[in-house]
Amino acid sequence: MQYHQAEPWGYYVPMRTSMVSDPLEKVARLASESAVVVFSISSCCMCHAVKRLFCGMGVNPTVYELDHDPRGKEIEKALMRLLGNSTSVPVVFIGGKLIGAMERVMASHISGTLVPLLKEAGALWL
């Protein structure tokens, strides 16, 4: 088969520009840029709870409020698919690794694995 360059409707070349990049790629990039990253929505109270949890531990998380992001809705959908949850936020990354939503964060704290993760990522000392 032959495809005319002038009429590219015969096949599609995905364009890897920032305009149409996968929202999860943006998530991964943002997650790797700080020790503790929280994807949040400013009106979400569970997000407020997870932020307070970190602050109470002396950790200063980097928070991305998705309702203030032009691509926020896309990212929300992507996070929901990633975690298989019915709510999109909060989602927590530590040291670039996905921890999960509130339930996972609390389970990790109770089992004593959260603090070592935070120390490893450089978010907590002593």
């Binding site: 009106s43 979400c44 109270c45 569970m46 407020h48 709870a49 997870v50 307070r52 949890l53 109470g56 531990m57 709510t87 509130m102 339930e103 609390m106 389970a107 704290h109 109770i110 089992s111 004593g112 959260l114």
Partner: protein, 300 residues
């Protein structure tokens, strides 16, 4: 008696009147005292009977799954609404749960006094933990049906309600109750329990602050333009209310995780003692509620 004799010597001329009056006063005082004592004993007796009656009613009501609750030990002002069958089912299931809890506590007590093997003890401990897991499962279903019912604590006794935190017990408080009962702990165990207590305290604080924020947000949205004619964003308010279920679920999840992790820190025998202590503690809260409800009250 010495003063009495002296006085009667002094007033030899009229012994009759004053003496007779004093004797009469004495008799009257003694009679009144006897009557007061009799009344008090009768009050105690009738309170005892009333308590027994209330306990019977309580048991009956639980078996019948009375959704409308026990008027004797709860003051439900302004209860309205239709009977929710899932909530009625929860009430009944919970009644059975409490009965089963009593049985397990008795078994644990006997087992710890006797010389049973670690394997048999393990079965009792796992049953005990599973029993709590069943409660959390029941509560999750009830939260879906009516989160306000769950969070009101209507399904619990009055003293339990006094200690309530987001629809159930406060994990860190539980650890406080248990810590003294679980001695002797190794140094490592002691450290682990202290860390667990601190972690659960921090998680509790975070959830509490989340719910406070929810209250604030809801209040603000309801109060929007309250003197105007346009109404307010009811859809937003409804979304806020839906978020409450999430908090109740997270609180129960925290309770479950705390119990689970504690059982991992402890030896089998310590875990058995811990379950016994916990069960007995909650039983005492319930019993105290009954006692309070049956207390003799002054007629107003």
């Amino acid at each position: 008696m010495l003063g009495w004799t002296t006085r009667s010597n002094q007033e030899e001329h009229k012994p009759g009147d004053k003496l007779q009056r004093r004797l009469a006063q004495n008799r009257e005082a003694a009679r009144k005292s006897r009557l007061r004592k009799k009344a008090y004993v009768q009050q105690l007796e009738s309170s005892r009977l009333k308590l027994a009656q209330l306990e019977q009613e309580l048991e009956k009501a639980r078996h019948q799954g009375a959704y409308l609750g026990n008027a004797s030990n709860s003051s439900r002002v302004g209860f309205s609404g239709t009977v929710n069958p899932e909530i009625a089912a929860f009430e009944m299931e919970y009644g059975h749960w409490v009965e089963e809890q009593h049985k397990q506590i008795s078994e644990l007590r006997k087992a710890l006094q006797a010389h049973i093997t670690d394997i048999e003890l393990r079965i009792l401990v796992e049953n005990g933990l599973n029993h709590y897991n069943n409660l959390f499962r029941m509560k999750a279903d009830a939260a879906k049906a009516d989160v306000f019912y769950l969070i009101s604590g209507k399904w619990r006794t009055s003293v339990e309600r006094f200690f309530q935190w987001i629809g159930g017990f406060r994990p860190s408080e539980l650890l406080n109750v248990l810590m003294s009962q679980l001695e002797p702990l190794t140094d490592q165990q002691h450290t682990n329990v202290c860390n667990l207590r601190q972690s659960s305290q921090q998680a509790e604080d975070a959830l509490t602050q989340g719910i406070d924020k929810l209250q604030q947000t809801l209040s603000q949205s309801i109060a929007a333009d309250v003197m105007g004619v346009g109404g307010y964003g009811q859809i937003d308010a409804m979304e806020n209310l839906e978020a409450l279920e999430g908090f109740v679920n997270q609180a129960d999840h925290l309770r479950q995780q705390t119990l689970q992790h504690l059982s991992q820190i402890l030896t089998m025998r310590q875990a058995a003692r811990g379950l016994l202590a916990l069960g007995e503690y909650f039983h005492r809260l319930r019993a105290l509620s009954s006692l309070w409800a049956a207390r003799p009250r002054e007629p107003t």
